[in-house]
């Protein structure tokens, strides 16, 4: 292997290491180099993975795609989100984890045949076995549609992914990196510590790469969020919305469900108590917190009501991003959070479980891409690529070059506006998005397009309606 391709491989597989743990280095390589790195990286991944990932091979064979000469060539092979949940739902309902594991293996290069799923009691049990017996750290979605999507990140790939958050969250662009890139900072996790969802899977790695030690990672609920409970809750809710009856649930599971729902009801209180306690024990300390706006806002409102203001060190780091689905933030939410915590700004970022890219908002108000993720903007109806020039608005898609064991091509459900050509005044050299990103599913058809056919829209609306009462 020549020096060039070793360099290329490192730049995409372990970019944090390659860029010397420096955000400045990461986001200031000349655009022409980025373009070359991306095309060469894409060709490398395609050549290695095309025939090693079963569903990819089928897709590529079906469309007779044998090589990549430009980045747009990969578009027909980008995976829609449906790829990660295209298994018969009865398999999950009936604990057929042998079949689920087999299905998952078709999405990764790793061999999962050695995993013992005999007698697997549920999703929690299965995730434990996968953690212990496979090279994967499997994560799943929130299950609100009634079933889970599963992502098959390899442990190594996942580790290399999370590393870059350290650099993104805690360094200021333009400045050299600190001697020790690990901030060793008190981390306030306003959630459970572990669980199957991606944001919980990250926590143990945040301990390693951000808090530096378990004692400095503080979770509102130190335990595990049960995936079985989340799944069941989603199933019941979705069935209710469809007017269906779920008949086959174990009574002991239903009992656990009742307790779980009770605990969920008290979660905001629990978070409040946790913050109250930490406001005492960590007063004046530098802390870090990452949460969606609604969690931060409700915490701030309650804390301020209890007289807690400017609690922590002013060089603390507060991060947020992404919409809490369907809710609109009040105009002054940031103010309240800043007042409670004692910092001067909230860092915003955009990202998704499927892609190893944390896109921080820059000083000029744009989300910047990372060089190892190739951005695409597609026509939302046809899926065809919009030009890679100028300013384009359409469906965001990506090729994540970082993963070595699963396919990094992904089509999102988000509408973005990308700036291809004009260099951002902030000095970062990567392409960037406007910050007003919306999901296509929330831009549904006109309010009173009425049809008597019960399509998915009707059920989406039913779900929203039920969740609002």
């Amino acid at each position: 292997m020549d020096k060039l391709s070793i360099g290329l491989r490192d730049s995409i597989t372990d970019p944090t290491q390659y860029f010397g743990w420096s955000v400045t280095k990461m986001l200031s390589i000349p655009r022409a180099e980025i373009d070359k790195m991306q095309l060469d990286g894409l060709r490398l991944r395609f050549n290695e993975l095309r025939d090693s990932i079963d569903v990819l091979k089928k897709l590529a064979d079906k469309q007779n795609i044998k090589e990549i000469t430009s980045v747009d060539d990969v578009i027909p092979l980008l995976f829609p989100h449906t790829m990660y949940k295209a298994y018969p739902p009865s398999l999950l309902q009936n604990n057929r984890f042998d079949q689920i594991t087999k299905w998952l293996s078709k999405l990764t290069t790793h061999d999962l045949s050695g995993v013992d799923t005999e007698g697997c009691a549920g999703i929690d049990d299965w995730l434990d076995r996968m953690d212990a017996q496979s090279p994967l750290v499997v994560s799943h979605t929130s299950g609100t549609t009634g079933t889970f999507s599963f992502l098959p990140w390899g442990k190594d790939d996942f580790d290399r992914r999370i590393k870059h958050y350290t650099v993104m969250f805690f360094q200021k662009f333009g400045e050299p990196r600190p001697d020790d890139p690990i901030p060793n900072i008190h981390s306030l996790n306003l959630n459970y510590f572990t669980g199957g969802q991606m944001l919980l899977r990250q926590n143990p790695l945040f301990v390693r790469y951000i808090a530096g030690s378990p004692e400095r990672f503080h979770s509102a609920v130190p335990g595990r969020f049960s995936s079985d409970m989340l799944y069941l809750a989603g199933r019941l809710r979705a069935a209710r919305a469809k007017g269906e009856v779920v008949r086959d649930i174990n009574p002991s599971l239903l009992e656990r469900m009742r307790n779980h729902e009770l605990q969920q009801k008290h979660l905001p209180e629990q978070i409040q108590e946790f913050l109250l306690e930490k406001s005492k024990t960590l007063r004046g300390e530098r802390i870090w917190v990452l949460a969606t706006w609604n969690v931060l806002h409700s915490a701030a409102v309650q804390a301020l009501a209890a007289g807690q203001r400017q609690v922590f060190a002013s060089d603390s780091v507060v991060l947020s991003g992404g919409g809490a689905k369907g809710m609109t933030p009040p105009a002054d939410w940031q103010e309240k959070v800043l007042e409670f915590i004692g910092v001067r700004e909230i860092g915003m970022s955009y990202g998704m479980s499927e892609v190893a890219g944390c896109y921080r908002a820059c000083e000029k108000g744009y989300y910047h891409q990372v060089p190892w993720v190739i951005p695409f903007v597609l026509d939302p109806d046809t899926g065809n690529p919009l030009p890679r020039t100028g300013v384009q608005t359409g469906r965001a898609a990506f090729f994540d070059l970082l993963p070595t064991a699963h396919w990094g091509g992904f089509i999102s459900g988000d509408e973005v506006t990308i700036h291809w050509d004009e260099p951002c005044a902030c000095g970062r050299t990567t392409t960037y998005y406007d910050m007003n990103i919306e999901r296509y599913s929330e831009k549904r058809g006109g309010d009173d397009k009425i049809t008597c056919a019960a399509t998915a829209d009707a059920h989406e609306e039913a779900l929203d309606f039920l969740s609002s009462i």
């Binding site: 829609p80 018969p88 109806d381 006109g446 309010d447 009425i450 008597c452 056919a453 019960a454 009707a458």
Partner: protein
């Protein structure tokens, strides 16, 4: 046999909207109103159109004073039928410029395609035929509509019952032009008063019919008891004022949460909701389909019809079809053969009833098809690469997870061992069940009904409707009426309460 399909351009010329911004006038009790126009639509694929500012006309919409219903009782049912027959004649597409305009505009607004729409506009006059109207009247009971019908009760009481009209608001669906016509007919026959709220996916048809009524007979009671207007569903300024018992006694709401959620907060004593919910429909194909090639062909034709006719845009259309092919390897092979034949037949349906879907297969469904097609252990997808429609074969005995999203001529065939195996999948969302062969109907219809199904039809005839029959397990016309009873009791036949007679009348000793 090789199948050639028409490459689908999605009727692209109708995506952008017509030149200029069309106007949907309000038609209120004999008056056409086309001023104080405000722009609506223009988002998410809906075309822009102008309509009178609903806040300015809301006052005029209801016939507030119930005594104003009296003029409907000065005309006989025969005269009502004559009016409707004349209206049907006047609506003939060939000679009615307003309907021609509505038809053209529907090419832009409707979810179906121009060949289907033109055909449906052309045949709207059929629901106005005398024989069809009489059949509809019979479903209520002519005698009840025309006068008081006597019933002698046990216990001595004599009752007279009459069906009176009600003041109603109709929130109608926009997936077919005939719905506006059916609503107007039902309103006339029951001597009711209707305010029709047009949907954004068909803002023009109801208005075009109403304007024809004004052209034809501006002072006729039937014309005067109809108002057609557009406002955005959920517009509280309009709805809070209008949806009150003094204005409206019944609300007939088609479609699901989009219309009903705006309405439910207003339901109170004196305001009744008749909800025609969104429905799914399915089909069952018995093992007889696999007897020989002729039976396979027939079954496939009928399946294709229930899926493809009306471009699968109706609540009656089948989306999931349960097939008694057997669930072992041989069974799946049989099912796949049927699926291939269904696909062929669907592509060959006449353009009057089925075409490639407008706008192709929607992106979300397409992404499901992609993911499904590469998981060939459990699924096979036939077609779908040219936005023409598709047939999904489930190899396990369960529908695909995204079955509620099936549309745009995409159907899911599911294998069964026995017909009864699908009964747990039937629920109250399940409206139409197409069954093949006929012998299976008798075996299943009671069980299907107990599980929630509402309309059992011969496979292939899902889209063949009759408005005089129960709809969604309701007798809509009878629900639209107010059934008034006049009870005669005489002390020598009914023991009087003041002499100790009980709640339930009994004869004196």
């Amino acid at each position: 046999m090789a199948t050639t399909f028409i490459a689908n351009d999605g009727y692209g010329m109708y995506k952008a909207g017509p030149a200029g911004t069309p106007i949907a006038p309000s038609v209120i009790r004999g008056k056409v109103i086309a001023d104080s126009l405000v722009e609506f639509g223009g988002r998410n694929g809906a075309i822009k159109f102008l309509a009178p500012d609903p806040h300015k006309i809301v006052e005029m919409l209801s016939v507030k004073d119930p005594t104003k219903m009296a003029d409907l009782y000065s005309i006989s049912l025969d005269e009502i039928v004559e009016y409707l027959v004349a209206l049907g004649d006047a609506l003939a597409l060939k000679k009615n410029a307003r309907m021609q305009e509505a038809c053209e505009l529907s090419y832009y607004t409707a979810p179906t395609t121009p060949p289907l729409l033109k055909r449906q506009f052309e045949e709207i006059d059929q629901v106005f035929s005398r024989i069809s109207l009489e059949e509809t009247i019979d479903s209520v009971g002519r005698a009840y509509l025309e006068g008081w019908v006597e019933r002698r009760m046990q216990g001595g009481k004599v009752a007279h019952i009459r069906a009176f009209g009600a003041r109603a608001l109709h929130i109608i669906a926009g997936n077919g032009p005939a719905l506006a016509a059916v609503t107007i007919i039902r309103n006339a026959i029951t001597r009711s008063d209707a305010i029709i709220k047009a949907p954004s996916n068909d803002p023009f048809t109801a208005g075009a019919i109403a304007r024809t009524m004004v052209d034809m007979a501006p002072d006729h009671p039937i014309t005067k008891h109809l108002a057609v207007a557009y406002w955005k569903g959920g517009d509280q300024e309009v709805e809070q004022q209008l949806y009150q018992p003094q204005n409206v006694e019944k609300i007939v709401a088609w479609g699901g949460f989009a219309s009903v959620k705006h309405v439910t907060r207003y339901i109170q004593p004196g305001l009744e909701l008749i909800s025609l919910d969104p429905k799914r429909s399915i089909s069952i194909v018995g093992p007889e389909a696999f007897e020989n090639d002729a039976s396979l062909d027939e079954a496939a034709q009928r399946v294709a019809s229930d899926v493809g006719c009306h471009n699968q845009e109706g609540c009656v259309n089948a989306r999931v079809l349960y097939v008694c092919s057997g669930t072992d390897d041989n069974g799946i092979a049989r099912l796949e053969k049927l699926g291939e034949r269904v696909y062929e037949k669907m592509m060959q349906l006449p353009a009057l009833v089925s075409t490639p879907p407008k706008g192709g297969i929607n992106p979300e469904l397409k992404s499901h098809l992609t993911a499904t097609s590469v998981n060939d252990e459990w699924f096979r997808v036939i077609g779908g690469d040219h936005d023409e429609g598709a047939v999904i074969i489930s190899k396990l005995s369960e529908p695909v997870d995204f079955a509620p999203s099936l549309t745009n001529r995409v159907a899911n065939l599911v294998p069964l061992d026995e017909p009864e195996d699908m009964l747990p999948r039937v629920d109250a969302y399940c409206q139409t069940v197409g069954v093949y062969p006929e012998s299976l109907v008798m075996k299943l219809r009671d069980k299907l009904s107990v599980h929630g199904a509402q309309r059992i039809v011969s496979l292939g005839y899902a889209v063949s409707a009759n408005v005089a029959l129960p709809q969604d397990a309701l007798e809509v016309l009878r629900r639209m009426c107010k059934w008034i009873v006049n009870e005669y009791s005489k002390p020598d036949t009914v023991l009087p309460p003041w002499l100790g007679g009980g709640l339930f009348s009994s004869r004196p000793e």
